[in-house]
């Protein structure tokens, strides 16, 4: 019986395609962005309906569906287009088949329903799978990208290093911060590390706890930590929480922290008088244009 139904469907291919196109174009006005041009939409529809029909006929291998879905994902077609398309196809095909058979009895109809579902289901499953795999891939890539910028350590002078922290700190990131910090202290031979938390949105007990642990570890290596970039609202929240920050030197801004760091390392910034050289020359941009 399944074969008969397939034959009916394939014989009435033209009709199904026509009806399908009509339905899907109607959906286009409601659901999809106007960015998709009419020609692209039509050529894509044609391909899509052929992929479905081929797979029903049995000569569409999974590879064909995979190629098609790869292209769709690459071009950024919405998943709803795929699912809508297949649902519409199911409806149109059912209509067509039921129209062409002469014994529309209850039991027979439910058989037909079952067969048509068994054609459409594997395609839906595969396409949705392909889409979700591609999303998971993107998410994992972004995770890696995020981790790459999660805890940089910047040596600014001999013995002074800065670690700017931006964004939410979770357990994983806290671990990463600790490792980077300790490794950096050793590598740059740092005496003072400034940890800047200007970009950390919330400092709760967990974040504070991790900061304490990191600074304690740095202290064991013989270096000092200064916590900078504490915004007024964060300061008030820390006081309310009742966290004791007295063991950890803090400054409101990176600038003040840097001055303290200079003091600790016995350095000083001096302004040089009689600046004779122009900035261009200092930067090496003058290209011998001066005519002295």
């Amino acid at each position: 019986m399944g074969r008969d139904l397939k034959e009916v469907a394939i014989k009435n291919k033209e009709h199904i395609i026509k009806e399908w196109n009509k339905e899907i174009s109607r959906l286009k006005d409601v659901n999809y962005t106007a960015e998709i041009s009419a020609e692209l939409f039509e050529s894509n529809n044609e391909e899509f309906v052929n992929v479905i029909l081929n797979s029903i006929r049995g000569d569409g291998t999974p590879q064909v569906i995979k190629d098609f879905s790869d292209r769709m994902i690459h071009l950024g077609w919405p998943l709803s287009y795929i699912t809508d398309g297949l649902l519409v196809f199911r409806k149109v095909t059912l209509d067509t088949i039921l129209h062409h058979i002469d014994q529309p009895e209850g039991e027979y109809i439910s058989e037909v329903l079952k067969y048509v579902d068994s054609w459409v289901e594997p395609i839906i499953r595969q396409l949705v799978n392909e889409y979700s795999v591609s999303w998971e891939h993107v998410v994992s890539l972004q995770r890696i990208a995020l981790q790459e910028l999660s805890a940089p350590l910047i040596p600014v002078m001999d013995n002074i290093t800065i670690m700017p922290l931006i964004g939410t700190i979770d357990t994983e990131r806290a671990k990463f911060i600790m490792e980077n910090l300790l490794e950096g202290v050793m590598r740059h031979n740092a005496e003072v590390v400034l940890i800047d938390i200007t970009g950390v949105p919330v400092v709760d007990t967990m974040v504070a706890h991790h900061l304490f642990q990191a600074t304690e570890a740095v202290r064991l290596l013989g270096a000092k930590c200064i916590l900078v970039g504490i915004r007024p609202e964060i300061a008030q929240t820390i006081v309310n929480l009742g966290i004791n920050f007295t063991d950890l030197p803090t400054k409101s801004t990176l600038k003040k922290g840097f001055l303290l760091a200079l003091e600790i390392t016995n350095k000083k910034i001096l302004e040089v008088e009689n600046k004779t050289q122009s900035i261009d020359k200092l930067l090496g941009l003058d290209k011998g244009s001066e005519k002295n």
Binding site: D204, T205, A208, L241, G242
Partner: protein, 133 residues
């Protein structure tokens, strides 16, 4: 207003989701930046407690109104192991997880109203309110 929003806490990143939703609601209710930070931090503590000890629970947000005050009610509810000694966990410096032990007493100080109920083996419910000044 009777709208009630809810965030389910199961993963560590749900804490961030709860925080963001709470901050957004607090901002819309007219809280200043300092109170926004207080509310967000309190939510963070409550959500983290759920994540650490109960594994699964929910945080509810509600706008509340009394005669002359407007405010936000944050409710944390879980079906975790419960707390044996409530007075002990409200003490500063008490922690079973090696943390700072400032979480719950901190939340009480960050918010205006604080109420905790817990039954061992059943779960814990914490209701807090912050009023707009």
């Amino acid at each position: 207003m009777d709208s009630k929003s809810c965030v389910r806490i199961m993963k560590e990143w749900d804490i961030v989701a709860a925080r963001q939703m709470g901050r957004e609601i607090a901002k819309n209710l007219g809280f200043g930046t300092v109170d926004q930070a207080r509310i967000t931090t309190a939510i963070s503590e409550l959500a983290r407690n759920i994540y650490l000890y109960a594994e699964e629970g929910r945080i509810y947000f509600e706008a509340v109104e009394s005669l002359e005050l407007k405010g936000i009610r944050v409710t944390a509810e879980d079906t975790g192991p419960g707390i044996k000694d409530l007075s002990l966990v409200m003490e500063d410096g008490y922690s079973t997880s090696g943390g700072l032990g400032a979480g719950l007493p901190g939340v009480r100080r960050l918010m205006d109203e604080f109420d905790i109920e817990s039954e061992v083996g059943k779960g814990t419910k914490i209701v807090t309110v912050k009023w707009v000044r």
